[in-house]
């Protein structure tokens, strides 16, 4: 398998706080990898650096052989990385379809007009929002906003999809639907790096997992092994449970 994303010695400091400290891992083409860790361990910060929201303090982020660390987010988006946000971000003054068309209109091989409208409709159908393009994004329920956000990320036809707790806040039925949706993306060959706290989803979706704790990587390997690793259990549950 060829490596799509290679993170090397990645570090991020916010003033005196080291949020991410010397983290290295890679993601192969077509793989779905979990990025795990307790609250505040630096997962979102890693996603933010990969997508260009923050420039790393040091380290390299290599996408298909090219170091993209520190590039502006719009440049990184054009290199083929799309993301969703831990706290869902919608464009509230636009319609649901326009939220998706925004991503279609500014990707490298952009779509516009009826082409964009048709494609947006198709993507909305795919995430379970078929026929609801005309609705106001602001009127959608939380789960539907998350669906729309995923459609917007998929609209970019990314080589690498970053999902930051996209499955959190769903009820059990919705969770099942969400897992099926991400599974189908993986089966189509999409490369996915996802941050998740729901272990049921991680087991179902990810062949590999990377675990962080207080900014450093503490485990990296096949999901089942990683989740059974005593160091990981301690990090998640505290010393008393080991």
């Amino acid at each position: 398998m060829t490596t799509l994303l290679k993170i090397q010695n990645l570090k991020k400091q916010f003033g005196g706080l080291t949020a991410v400290n010397d983290v290295s891992f890679s993601v192969a083409e077509g793989e779905t990898v979990a990025l795990l860790g307790p609250n505040g361990s630096g997962k979102t910060t890693v996603i933010n650096m990969i997508s260009g929201a923050f420039a790393p303090t040091s380290g390299r982020i290599v996408l298909a052989g090219e170091n993209i660390a520190g590039l502006a987010p719009n440049r990184i988006a054009h290199k083929g990385i799309a993301r969703t946000f831990q706290l869902v971000r919608i464009l509230p003054s636009l319609s649901v379809a326009e939220n998706v068309m925004a991503a279609l209109a500014f990707r490298p091989n952009h779509l516009w007009g009826t082409e964009a409208r048709d494609r947006a409709e198709h993507l909305l159908l795919e995430v379970g929002l078929g026929g609801r393009g005309h609705e106001h994004a602001n009127d959608l329920t939380y789960i539907d906003q998350k669906r729309m956000e995923l459609a917007r990320a998929l609209a970019a036809e990314p080589r690498l999809l970053l999902l930051d707790e996209w499955l959190s806040g769903l009820n059990p039925t919705e969770l099942g639907v969400g897992i099926d949706l991400i599974t189908s993306l993986g089966q189509r060959g999409m490369t996915i790096l996802l941050v998740e706290h729901i272990m049921e989803a991680v087991r179902a979706l990810c062949s590999r997992a990377v675990v962080m704790n207080v900014g450093t990587k503490i485990a990296d390997g096949p999901t089942a092994d990683v989740l059974a690793d005593p160091a990981v259990i301690v990090a998640y549950l505290g010393d008393g449970h080991a």
Partner: protein, 310 residues
């Protein structure tokens, strides 16, 4: 679709009527029409950039003055149409340099910088004229009648509003809406935010430069304190804000009554004019910050809701 065609027909009819108007109103009337149309263009062009980006620019007169001065300097050496092209080119170049340097500035710093820019350019031109050419003022003798100036401004007004109409329907227009909603999402969907802002600033500034260039022959005598008068920046801003900087027709609708009001004020209360201008500025910012059009819409919605509830 039919509504769009109807709209275009109406606008064309209106333009024809406006173009015909000078034959009916006499010299004073033409002067008024000319000044009014000038401010319609200034306010509309100002709003092209400042409406969607919410950057309040006080650089209007910097570009206006650059346009006027280019005509003053070159009118004897180049044909008129070439002078306009050169003026537009200089305005565009200055806008790109200034835009690259300042669009990273946030809020109030941008306001202060643009105000300073206008003063700086005025001082530079004054210094150059006094020390290098040895004069302060310049005469413009161009055989261009007030009617011709008015028609040029009318065409520029149509062009400016046409550009606004096109932008709203283009990818640039969508980019502006996305940026207005959430800059983070905009950047992560591949929108070059500074590029979009720079493009708008450049288009807006180039049009403003042309207004100065087209109006220059009207003055005959030009000096820095006339064409770089900061009142022009403030008037433009008040007009656009009053009408609503985020509406296609808002700035034009703000410019017409305010222009007439200011004409009347400066004729009747020349010494209190600046105070009244300042008070109006404050009143508009506090009472209808999003413009009268938006204010009326809000009021209409509220009344309708009340009607439904009753």
């Amino acid at each position: 679709m039919t509504r769009t065609i109807l709209g275009f027909a109406l606008v064309a009819l209106g333009l024809a009527a406006l173009a015909w108007l000078p034959t009916q109103v006499g010299a004073y009337g033409v002067g008024l029409l000319l000044g009014m149309t000038g401010y319609v263009v200034l306010a509309s062009a100002w709003a092209l950039f400042s409406g969607p980006t919410r950057y309040v620019s006080l650089a209007t007169v910097a570009f206006f003055g650059i346009g006027a001065y280019t005509v003053a300097v070159l009118s004897e050496t180049l044909p008129y149409w070439a002078v306009l092209l050169v003026a537009a080119g200089i305005g565009l170049a200055v806008a790109l340099v200034v835009g690259l340097a300042t669009l990273r500035l946030a809020g109030v710093y941008f306001v202060i910088f643009t105000f300073g820019l206008a003063e700086l350019i005025r001082q530079l031109v004054t210094w150059y004229e006094v020390n290098v050419t040895g004069t302060l003022g310049r005469y413009i003798f161009l055989p261009i009648s007030p009617e011709q100036i008015y028609w040029q401004l009318l065409a520029l007004a149509a062009l400016t509003i046409g550009i606004g109409w096109l932008i709203a329907r283009s990818r640039l227009g969508l980019a502006l809406k996305v940026i207005g909603d959430d800059e983070t999402v905009a950047a992560h969907t591949g929108i070059d935010i500074s590029g979009v802002k720079l493009a708008l600033f450049a288009v807006s500034a180039t049009i403003i430069t042309l207004v100065g260039a087209i109006q220059a022959p009207r003055w005959t005598y030009v000096e820095p304190s006339i064409v770089f008068n900061p009142t022009i920046s403030f008037l433009t801003l008040i007009m656009a804000l009053l009408g609503g900087a985020n509406r296609l027709w808002g700035p034009a609708l703000g410019a017409i009554p305010l222009f007439l009001l200011f004409e009347w004020l400066s004729a009747n209360f020349p010494s209190h004019y600046s105070i009244i201008l300042g008070l109006m500025f404050i009143a508009i910012v506090f009472v209808v910050p999003r413009g009268v059009l938006a204010g009326v819409e809000d009021l209409w919605k509220r009344l309708r809701r009340k009607g439904e509830a009753a």
